[in-house]
């Protein structure tokens, strides 16, 4: 599973937020999840993935545009369907497809720099806005 930050470019790009409540037991889930992450990283337009699991699991994958996110959704759904595993692995889940408008990092927030810019801009922690 992904354990680091996704190294995304300047906005706009697309985030697919997948939140899930697992069933009890592994039932092949970990192997499937790793295989799906590997598959995602080979898709066109893939930018990165971030994942954490506790009471619920949250996986955010990042894509260059809506078309790439949609293509991934179809590939993923098809793959899961092939393995007939959805109801085995998940009690429930939510998927939200979102356009990232702006982002900032701890460093840019500390120094007020924009995404990808090390140059300080002001002292108020301005972020990388698109609109």
């Amino acid at each position: 599973m992904a354990t680091t930050f996704a190294d995304t470019p300047e906005p706009p790009y697309v985030a697919v937020i997948f939140t899930s409540k697992r069933t009890e037991g592994d039932n092949g889930y970990m192997a499937m999840a790793e295989s799906m992450n590997e598959l995602a990283s080979k898709q066109q337009g893939f930018l990165g993935i971030e994942s954490a699991s506790e009471d619920i699991g949250i996986t955010v994958s990042y894509w260059v545009d809506q078309a790439a996110a949609r293509a991934w959704k179809e590939v993923a759904a098809h793959r899961v369907a092939q393995r007939q595993g959805r109801e085995v692995w998940y009690q429930d889940y939510r998927v939200r497809i979102a356009t990232v408008d702006r982002d900032y990092t701890m460093t840019s927030s500390l120094f007020g720099g924009q995404h990808g810019t090390a140059t300080p801009r002001n002292a108020t922690g301005s972020d990388n806005r698109r609109q």
Copy 2:
């Protein structure tokens, strides 16, 4: 910390994706996090929050619009600054502000229904699209 799904309305709405890498030890983090979640839930325009922590932490808060998300960012940054805790709690973090365009649930995906709709639409797992 949040352990369930956020009960968000039909898109569009705004997601603030906060991914973080913690420092070692608690250093008052858990108390701060709980207090911040409680504070968030009292903000105008708050829709819900989802959180999971493993190698990295991912917290997604949902807001009615960009203005509500921005207001929360300012409140949160101010609160953290007051406590001078940012560098104590975090090695690094990323914040991404995104507009959710469409979403679907396990149930809507199974039956092809739209967000908030129990009625089956088709068998291909269509989702709740805005564009």
